[in-house]
Symmetry: C3
Subunit: 335 residues, 3 copies
Amino acid sequence: MKNLLIATTALVATAGVAAADISVSGDGRMGLVYNSQDTLLSGDSNIKISSRLRIGFSASGETDNGLSFGGFIRADNAGFNFDGGGGVNGRAGSVFISGSFGKLSMGDVDGAAKAAVGQVSGIGYTNLSDINEITYLNSGTDLNGDGSDDTLYPTPSALYEYAAGSTVFYVGIGQIGTQIGTVSLPGGGFAVGEVGQSYSVGAKWSNDNGLTISGGYEATNDVAGTGDASDWVLGAQWTNGTWGVKGIYLQGEWAGFGDVRQYAVSGDWTTGATTVTAFVTRKELEDFDLDTTSFGLGAAYDLGGGATLAGGIASVTPLAGDDYTVGDLGVKFNF
Amino acid sequence: MKNLLIATTALVATAGVAAADISVSGDGRMGLVYNSQDTLLSGDSNIKISSRLRIGFSASGETDNGLSFGGFIRADNAGFNFDGGGGVNGRAGSVFISGSFGKLSMGDVDGAAKAAVGQVSGIGYTNLSDINEITYLNSGTDLNGDGSDDTLYPTPSALYEYAAGSTVFYVGIGQIGTQIGTVSLPGGGFAVGEVGQSYSVGAKWSNDNGLTISGGYEATNDVAGTGDASDWVLGAQWTNGTWGVKGIYLQGEWAGFGDVRQYAVSGDWTTGATTVTAFVTRKELEDFDLDTTSFGLGAAYDLGGGATLAGGIASVTPLAGDDYTVGDLGVKFNF
Amino acid sequence: MKNLLIATTALVATAGVAAADISVSGDGRMGLVYNSQDTLLSGDSNIKISSRLRIGFSASGETDNGLSFGGFIRADNAGFNFDGGGGVNGRAGSVFISGSFGKLSMGDVDGAAKAAVGQVSGIGYTNLSDINEITYLNSGTDLNGDGSDDTLYPTPSALYEYAAGSTVFYVGIGQIGTQIGTVSLPGGGFAVGEVGQSYSVGAKWSNDNGLTISGGYEATNDVAGTGDASDWVLGAQWTNGTWGVKGIYLQGEWAGFGDVRQYAVSGDWTTGATTVTAFVTRKELEDFDLDTTSFGLGAAYDLGGGATLAGGIASVTPLAGDDYTVGDLGVKFNF
């Protein structure tokens, strides 16, 4: 739940004054996580205490001619993080301006393909390291939680969105120039050097019966001097409020990885305050003869007031090493 | 003083809506600190300008069935700090859930012994580097102000509290597994490698005449492969509003340190807006034939509105090196 | 625009209660920056996406006898930054106390000469790396945006201000002792080692016809063991609401730099919501036979509600290397 600060001017408001606001929100979680390979957690234990608290700020305003503008940044992303990225240089958080022309965002924004297609449902109170998620080329995904993106998508980047009827169109462009990055995958990851221009397009169509069809294309040129990378992705989602299913298929060729195929499917079933979720996510890097598969089952119970009891268990076949099982059980909060 | 943000929903409140809130608070201080050994401050000066400003966020909510939940994190602790700890991974700040079953907290929480017994009173507007405080094994104490704990207590840790009449019981458990840590003591410190399981228990009993008796036991297994560490601690406190005294005794055996004994006593005398405080704190590490003693005298004058004028002077016999005198004089603020 | 949090006590306010408050504000920007030397931006591109979002906290309170106190810190400056400076140790942000005696501030505050004379107008939505600004010896300037100052002025420092009629007097003192620092100049910079005492004085006089005359003197002793550094600076400013001009001249001798001369002039012309600005800034380090000149032209259009459309273009003759042209075009926001 977001909390609205009352602007000073609002307290002495006169007609016609456009007020800029900042609202403060937050999220937290606490519980236990499990990993069958104890070396993946700390020391020789399979169980770990895992908690966190994050605070975020949403800024918003309106120009005299009716354009909206604003942005969002978390307190933990505000300054420089380990790799020099943060809200102060646009490598975390984002700002936007919007109007009848659409919405233009800059900062740590997603590429157009990810913005259109998204991810399948995850499980657990920690989302289990996001193992349900496919890896987009231009995702701006902060996989390791250090506040800046880990993928080939150099930030600050820009995302343009335009809604026409039941369809939303997306166009994205990565930082013009180059940047060091890392592609993270379950059980491994690939460091990449400089990359060239990144760009992406996407579209999402929804109807009144709960059906959403989406797709996108994304590319990054000159990946570490080894060539280009590109992929296309399709998504389909349907929900009737009780049942929901979502599927994603991504196929492309990434310089340094060869042919890349990723599949993800999730299903959600909600009854009362309880939602049960299952997913399967598979990633194939054919030239390396490497693939990783994760599948999991979880449940969440809405405690009300912003608190949710959630747990999940999943099996992971990583890029390297033995299969392992992960799970968690805890409470997550929205403030 | 805490400042309550008005939740958006509160502005449009309907009966029965449980609202989550975030309040913003802060503390600051400004003044001069003195050290008789100029090499302990910057350059060849015995006097240093010392100021700071910190902002904190308290989150709170309530579930439909009446459980309370929330947390606290400071802005400067929100992201990753020097050693990789921060609010985003539960190594700074904390979250909690509470109800008739008691209160369970996770994050950078104290061990049960410290939570029950606490510390004696400190002096000065900067608290003079906390030289009044004893060092708990499982304290989660941020001695160097880098936002994560310096002691053997691996975070995120968990603390459970339960109040039964005039007695509060505490049970603590450190991060399950291992973690690199450092034990800081005045004039020195000891780096430790991996540690095993940490746990602690404590209790605090108070009566209506201002008397509080407290005690605790804490242990950490497998300290850097050299053995276990454990101690017990007793505390007694009495106040009648004008006079207050507190005493703490800790005794144990810490792997790598041998027998450990710590004593601390403080007295407070309040008249009008003025409080005068004195303390003596002594720490003995017998196997190393090392000990450190600090004693000090200070006064604080409540300026009202959240501001306090405070100063203190103390003598320190450090673990290594010559005795030195420290002092400060300045103003501290609560927002 | 600042946003006032309603203090808890204000909600239950009783007469005579002095309440401490924290208000949240922010600024953001988004657009494109240009550099004719592509190697100065990322990769082989002359154009770069540049955005950011920053959140700030203003704390304020009042003592029972009517003294005001408070402070300001940005979220990105709250914790430790790259060089160990941050709001928690007074090397970023600041706190103050004020009354009829004047105002005393501590933290990352300006020296007295800079506080009195300031800078000429800059251009563009990013201020083009502050190339309009002269470099003060005791400026506490965060030239590289890492949250702590880059110049010879060790922080936390102190600044005292006193207004007598139409004149404001300033006295500043740097951290007593030493500190490693760096002097940054366009196209280069000089690392300095330990410095001794820094101090500064300044004054600013204004009349009712828009004229302001200002001046200051500042000195730092024992700069990296090579000697002392000092300079004096004069400023003059005039505005009638439509036209504004400002000029600054600084002359001194800086150990390790020799004779230093800096000149800056800017002019502003405002019509309706549009302001056009031009500046010339020149810095001469005579002993090194080095100088740098920047001149630029920009325009800003006030969109209302805290948003401004701004752009600028400037030519830079750096200390080393070829001349280059920089420019930007974007939107900046105040929340």
